[in-house]
């Protein structure tokens, strides 16, 4: 992985945002002997602390026939461990006045507890107990398999449009050359049914070892006390073997894919257009992020001004990257709209495509780029208000840039983007040959 941190830090520090200094986030990093990476980021402005663990495991680590398994496994992490009964993880955190949850994406699975600061010990103890001794029973697996299937029905099968999001976009990658990114996080019902406790144990041993995890503590805590607790709870968990590497043959511009998408739940046509884009650490990535903002984020974005407001074709239009989380493999840029009544999917497709084409043909204005940068930086400041979001930002820098301090230095990459960069990445990635077009048509039997 390329490292940008050192370079950008030397170039530009402190960052000045239109006259405001971007507040610096404290980051102290160390490793336990068993390989667990620990990052401390204290801030005493509220009585809240977040314990946040990312495992370097997600749907990209799944094998054929077990799609959806990383997410099913995430559910199993709440089913108890040596000293925590099934269901007690939620109960103990909620009784402490805290919040806990987890989520699975392509590249990582995150677990967190946001707690009153005097319950840091509870969060660390709970995470250590399940990292050390996860309980795996047939009944718990059967139970969570059903919960996950209901989650799939709730989010995908019983909703309009969402299948295009949750599943359609994975068609951008060729499953013969890049299976890790060519199947969905939610997985197939058949594969979920096929998963057994043996799979759960093997996945735990391979991916849920301390040397495959990063622990971030952010918010109101005492460094010395926190370090002592981390050593006490996590220190004796043995190191695991190294997880196998994930391979993907990344290709851009391999031809347009068109997918008619009849949707029995939809009442209005919709258009979702996806492009293959580079990974987080790639030099082109910041320009792609800002391009997404210019194209489809906010009222004054190009898609909103043209497709929604001027042409009146759609209720809303959006563009963003990587619906679940960033990636170390090929990314997905998704632009989409849901039509107004009496507008066809083909009509919107033409209008959206014209806006995308103009990014490469005519470029963007310096004003548009400034607006996108200001939005990016204001968002970086806002996210520091809540320790959970701050912890997530530190994890993101650590996994995707290889440097926790990237949370402070990476904004420089975004500030350095020029209008020429935007035009160049538009011409490189945002071309029909690099796209997937999903035309959702109502197929209701009502």
């Amino acid at each position: 992985m390329r490292r940008f941190a050192a370079l950008t830090a030397a170039l530009l520090w402190p960052l000045v945002v239109a006259g405001q200094v971007l507040p610096r986030i404290p980051v102290e990093t160390y490793r336990l002997d068993n390989g667990l990476q620990v990052i401390l980021s204290p801030d005493h402005s509220s009585q809240v602390v977040t314990v946040n663990i990312w495992f370097n495991a997600g749907s990209r680590n799944e094998v054929r026939g077990r799609t959806g398994f990383a997410h099913l496994f995430e559910h199993m992490m709440f089913q108890g461990s040596a000293n925590v009964k099934k269901g007690d993880h939620f109960a103990l955190v909620e009784r402490a006045g805290g919040q806990t949850n987890a989520s699975t994406a392509e590249d990582r699975t995150n677990y967190f507890e946001m707690l009153p600061s005097n319950r840091l010990n509870l969060g660390l103890w709970l995470e250590a107990d399940r990292m050390r001794s996860l309980a795996v029973t047939d009944s718990a697996l059967a139970n969570q398999r059903e919960a996950v299937k209901e989650e799939r029905r709730l989010r995908v099968d019983n909703q309009p449009y969402t299948a295009a999001f949750f599943e359609g976009i994975y068609a951008l990658q060729d499953s013969t050359t890049c299976f890790p990114y060519a199947h969905s996080v939610i997985g197939s019902m058949a594969d979920l049914n096929a998963a057994g406790t043996g799979d759960v144990k093997a996945f735990f041993d391979l991916y849920y070892a301390p040397n495959n995890a990063t622990l971030v503590i952010a918010g109101d805590f005492d460094r010395g006390q926190a370090k002592a607790m981390v050593t006490e709870y996590f220190g004796t968990i043995p190191r695991g073997s190294e997880a196998p590497a994930v391979t993907c043959d990344v290709r851009f511009g391999t031809g347009q894919i068109r997918k008619p998408w009849p949707d029995q739940k939809a009442t209005l046509p919709g258009v979702f257009i996806a492009y293959r884009v580079p990974q987080y650490a790639d030099p082109d990535y910041p320009a792609v992020v800002l391009l997404a903002s210019i194209l489809g984020q906010g009222e004054s974005s190009r898609l909103n001004k043209s497709v929604v407001r001027e042409k009146k074709l759609a209720q809303a239009a959006f563009a963003f990257l990587n619906p679940s989380a960033p990636r170390r493999g090929p990314g997905v840029f998704l632009a989409g709209t849901i039509a107004n009544q009496n507008v066809t999917a083909e009509t919107i497709e033409t209008a959206v495509m014209a806006q995308i084409a103009s990014l490469a043909k005519d470029g963007v204005t310096p004003d548009e780029l400034d607006k996108a940068k200001n939005g990016y930086l204001a968002n970086k400041i806002q996210q520091q208000q809540i320790s959970y979001f701050l912890a997530e930002a530190i994890q993101e820098a650590t996994l995707f840039l290889g440097d926790p301090n990237g949370v402070n230095t990476d904004p420089a990459r975004y500030l350095a983007v020029t209008v020429d960069d935007i035009r160049r990445v538009a011409a490189r990635y945002f071309v029909p040959d690099n796209s997937l077009v999903m035309l959702v048509t109502p197929a209701g039997a009502r």
Partner: protein, 690 residues
Amino acid sequence: MIRRAVLLALLASVATVGHPVMAQTHAPDPLPLTPAAFPPFRETVLPNGTRLIVVENHRLPVLSISLSFSAGRVADPAGKEGLAEMAGGLLTKGAGRRSANQVAEAIERVGGAVNAGAGTEFLTVSAGSLSKDAALAFELVGDAVVRPSFDSTEIGLMRTQTLSSLDLERSQPGSIANRILDGMLFGNHPYARHATPASVKAISRADLIAFQKARLKPAGALLVVAGDMSLAQATTLATKVFRGWTGAPAPLPPPRALPTRAGTDIVLVHRPGSVQSNILAANLTYRPGDPRHYAAVVANRVIGDGADSRLFKILREQKSWTYGAYSALERRRATGHFVASTEVRTEVTDSALAEMLRQLRRIGAEPVLAEELAAAKSAITGSYPLNVQTAEQVAGAVTNVRLYGLGRDYLQTYRVKIGAVTGADVQAAARALIRPDAMAIVVVGDGAKILEGLKKIGPVSVVDVDGKPLAESDLNPAPQSLPVALGQLVASRDSFVIKIQGNQLGWSATTVEDIPEGKRLTEHTNIGGFVEQQTIVDIAADGAMLKVRQTGKTQGQPTAIELDYAAGRVKGKANTVTQDGPKTLTIDTTVTTGTIDDNAIQGLLPALPWNPNATWSFTTFSGGQNEAKVTTLKVVATEAVTLPGGPVDAFKVEMSGGWQGATFWVTTASPHRLVKIAIANTPVEIIRVK
């Protein structure tokens, strides 16, 4: 290494994947925490009567502003439901010297946001920005409420988008359920009313301007500023942007009586093809300020607020019926309501509802366990630090207290009052406020599959997604043979044009020919190069299907269907285009007597004995789907259709239950002719020209 797993497996039949034992086998005790008072805030009343509250916090250079009025949808005039929401949405679409685009550009250029919208009770305009841009944020809020443009173009756009979003809501089971529930809970009270396509179309620019002039007045408005700003700075900026704005809002209409409910009723919203059922069970509770509130909050926590609650633990963790099951206490000025909710797979709908009701009875009937009581109270009071992390969260809490009139010391004494709630208080509050024997229950799901089970729980009425009553027979129509009089089909040729949004984009021609076995129906369709298709259907003299031959292209992909019907079977193959690309189906399946091929329906319409009450349900087979379904044709109206040659009277016939809904218009005069087709949920219309 001897694994802990082996030992545990022997002891407790728990296979643990794991490692050396944790030294500490119980969750650690809490560390000391200095209890923090509710964060301080300052307030004043501006000369124009607006109350200003400032929650000052300089940790980060950010700021948020919100300005709220008693101007929610509750006061919308009858027939103009949606007025407050539309007016709210338009406040930021052009105001002061800026057009809608300029408002958006101005705030987004500095990485901020400005929003306006109306809910049930209140209309709120808000803005967030870095504190260096505070003057701009104040100016945009001031312009929005005092100087909105209500530009005609923006009104038209908002109306279009509102109509489309109403249509979108009809596809979302959660939205459908809430709308129907409001109707059940609130009866004739304005809380039950929602925007409809007709009411949205009835709202004029004059209505919007009158709304703003009458309702958005400074006296009684609440302005809350949170973040990197002092009271003095906020007063200065507010005074500047609200200069010249005076007066009090028009009084709200007098409160209407709320309905009372004697028993539990179930409304089943039939949503064919649902793979889950959305369940809501609710009853009215109390007005804001009721002293039972604290005990009710604890009771609600025990029942369904969070993953440590009975509903979640039983419906999800024990039964595996759902991804989540919850309950909530909703707050409105005239009354609150309690609502329990879950989404479960279709097969367990009645079991899940019965279990939910059992738990709602139990909380009033049995004392709450001491451990549950302690857990609930510590969760509520313990979450306090998480709820006041940011100035904006503090501002939100203060805003709620002021808008709902919860009492000056509500936030400061909340934790103490929750701490004082006893088990007896919880049971008494639950018995009084959660009434499983007098509840409004909404179930959105596939009625054909869940009606019988629900009837065992309570009286069920069935409606469609728009709330229109349905008969039970509409859910699961028994298929009959279509009364086809093939002799009515005479050799002929008809031409149609295909219009999309009124533009002619294609054509279709149909012919009827006599063949030795019976009749041959041929259809040739071409839509703007996207679709080209020819279909031949042969039908025996007794109306039985003989064969189907279809060839064509859809979006450049070849499609073909070859089917032969004989001796109670249909055999053949179908090449179709799906989400996953071209697909070939081999078909060899039994069909019941009287089954109609889906390609034959249109051609057979003239051969049916039409009358104003005609309704037929029959089995159709689709080669493209390799599936049989019951399809219903029903006359829903008699109306004039305008054709190129002039108007003709026609039966309007809705086709439902199959793979694609459609509406047909068939002439009332005999011999019946098909004169117009509208494909459901699409802008496609097919009109006979010759």
